[in-house]
Each structure stands twice: as structure tokens, then as C-alpha cells.
């Protein structure tokens, strides 16, 4: 007499491990995605803070230099790499043009690049765009802050 089968069949084990595998993959990928998003959100917050700091320098210099000299310091369209901010009006007036290329500075454990675009809209209006960018794996991420300065 043939003994009655005990335990699971091959098919049952295969199906069970498949289901377990699927569930584990889903959970782990969700966990990895959420840690990654958390880190990126932190960098995003740091980046917008850095952008605000650069914009505040332009506000400061507009106040200190007055419109005429502030507008003189800006070319028709120029980009400046402001990884370090100009501390004084004198520094501000001699900022050298150019993009950051590979130069970065570190905030909260991440390498950032801060570039400021200055565009003269008219004699009485200058548009300043601060872009703080960082690398998220192979992707470029950035925080952008824009402000129009007017002569009032």
C-alpha cells in the first residue's frame, strides 16, 4: 500500500516562496525609497536656505550701494559662482563672472553648487536668479529662487 503523502508539494512551496519574495521586495523597496526621499528633502531644505542667503546678499548690496551703483555692478546678463558669498560691498562689486564648473561647497554633508544669474530687464529692473544644485545619484537636483529688484 502506498503511504499517504505528508508535507507540502513542490508547487505549494514554489508558490509560497514566490509570494513571500514578492512581499519582501515590495517592503524593502518602499523602505529604501522613503529613506532616500527623506535625505533628499533634507538637502532640498538646506539648498533653499543657501539660495536665500545668496539672495539676501543682493538685497543687502542694493540697500548699501544704492540703485545706481548696484545696477552698475550687474552686466546685461551674467552668471556668478557664489559658493562663498561676498562679505562686503567691495567684494560684491568685483565678483568674477562664470559658472561653478566642478567647484562645490559642503552643507549638511552634501556638496552644493551655488550659481547666481543676473539679468538686466530694463534700466529700472534687474532679475536675480539663484540656483543651488546638488547631485542625487546620476540626477541633477536644484532649488531655484528668483527675485526682481526694482528702482523705487
Amino acid at each position: 500500500m502506498k503511504k499517504a503523502q505528508l508535507g507540502f508539494s513542490m508547487i505549494e512551496i514554489l508558490v509560497a516562496s514566490l509570494v513571500v519574495g514578492l512581499v519582501l521586495t515590495a517592503i524593502s523597496s518602499a523602505l529604501i525609497a522613503s529613506t532616500h526621499n527623506l535625505a533628499q528633502a533634507r538637502y532640498e531644505a538646506a539648498a533653499s536656505k543657501e539660495a536665500k542667503k545668496a539672495m539676501e546678499v543682493f538685497v543687502r548690496e542694493k540697500v548699501l550701494l544704492g540703485w545706481t551703483r548696484f545696477a552698475d555692478a550687474a552686466d546685461t546678463a551674467a552668471t556668478y559662482c557664489l559658493n562663498t558669498l561676498p562679505l562686503t560691498s567691495a567684494d560684491f562689486r568685483v565678483m568674477s563672472e562664470g559658472t561653478c564648473l566642478t567647484e562645490t561647497y559642503e552643507v549638511a554633508g552634501e556638496a552644493f553648487r551655488r550659481e547666481v544669474g543676473v539679468q538686466v530687464v530694463s534700466g529700472d529692473e534687474i532679475k536675480v536668479t539663484v540656483t543651488v544644485s546638488w547631485q542625487d545619484g546620476a540626477r541633477d537636483r536644484e532649488a531655484v529662487l528668483e527675485q526682481n529688484f526694482t528702482n523705487y
Binding site: 539676501e56 538685497v59 543687502r60 540697500v63 548699501l64 550701494l65 562686503t88 560691498s89
Partner: protein, 174 residues
């Protein structure tokens, strides 16, 4: 002799089940603890944000509407402004029983005792940079401070939350 048919669980089965449930319980309690710590951190951060934003906005308003700033230098640790009413308003750090608050001379504290101030890279609790234009008619003030919840060395480092606050204000010239 007839062998009695086995009912119930074997010892091995019971052992395996207990081990599995212990592992599960450990994992879930770790998750729960992380959740609790994270929640505490979010609460602390929220408190710090409220306190810091309040202090910043109060100082910002008074500085923006000030008539003048008599001592205008970089790297100051306190700030005295001549307010609209002609009186001097002074912002400074007051130390009380080992914890610090941002205070103004009108007897009002801008931060409460539930948060402390931490030093910045230059070792200052309150950093005030006042810029003056060449003709000395325009002034611009940069304020920055770091608020901290939790005491280093007493609380666990994971329970200590810090946040930097900074802003720039142009003084309206009258």
C-alpha cells in the same frame, strides 16, 4: 502493542514557533521605538521652529522700522536700535540657570525657557552683522542664532535637535 497516535505539537515545533515570535516581537519593538523617537524629534523641531520664527519676526519688525542703529559693526553679539518711539531697544542673550534666552530690554523674552541657544561656528549665541553704506545713510542687519532643544551630555544625542535661524533686514531710512 498499539502505538498511540500522536496529537498536539512536538517540542521542535514549539521551539521554532517561540523563536519566530521572539524575532518578530524584537523587530516590531525596534520599529515602534524608532517611531516614538522620531515623533519626539518632530515635536521638538516644531517647537524650535515656532520659537525661532517668532523671535526672528519680532526682531525683524522692530529693526526694519527703527530710526537708526547707533553701533553698526560686523560680528556683534547684541544689537541696540533706536525705535520709532525714540527709545533704545536692545536685543541680547540673557543667561539664566545655565540656559539662555533672547531678551529685549523691555523685559520681554523672545524665546522661552523650553529651548536653549547654541553657539555658532564663531562661538557666539547671537550673531549680529550690521552693514553700513559709504554715506552712512543706509543700514542693513544680518541676524543669526541657533536654537537647541535638549541638553548635550544629559539627553541622548538622538533627542537633541538644533536649527539655525537667520535673516537680513534693511533698516528703513527716514
Amino acid at each position: 502493542m498499539r502505538i498511540k497516535r500522536q496529537t498536539g505539537f512536538t517540542l521542535i515545533e514549539l521551539l521554532v514557533v517561540t523563536t519566530l515570535s521572539v524575532i518578530l516581537m524584537l523587530a516590531s519593538s525596534v520599529l515602534f521605538m524608532t517611531f516614538l523617537v522620531g515623533k519626539g524629534k518632530i515635536n521638538s523641531l516644531q517647537l524650535i521652529k515656532n520659537e525661532g520664527d517668532y523671535a526672528l519676526s519680532k526682531m525683524e519688525f522692530l529693526i526694519r522700522n527703527a530710526i537708526d542703529i547707533s553701533d553698526c559693526e560686523l560680528g556683534m553679539t547684541e544689537l541696540t536700535i533706536k525705535s520709532l518711539d525714540g527709545q533704545d531697544t536692545r536685543f541680547f542673550i540673557e543667561e539664566d540657570a545655565g540656559s539662555r534666552k533672547i531678551a529685549s530690554n523691555s523685559g520681554i523674552y523672545l524665546t522661552s525657557g523650553s529651548v536653549d541657544l547654541a553657539t555658532n561656528a564663531d562661538g557666539q549665541y547671537l550673531q549680529v552683522d550690521c552693514y553700513e553704506s559709504d554715506d552712512q545713510r543706509s543700514k542693513y542687519v544680518n541676524l543669526s542664532f541657533i536654537l537647541r532643544k535638549g541638553v548635550p551630555g544629559v539627553d541622548l544625542s538622538r533627542d537633541i535637535v538644533e536649527q539655525e535661524f537667520s535673516t537680513g533686514v534693511a533698516v528703513r531710512s527716514f
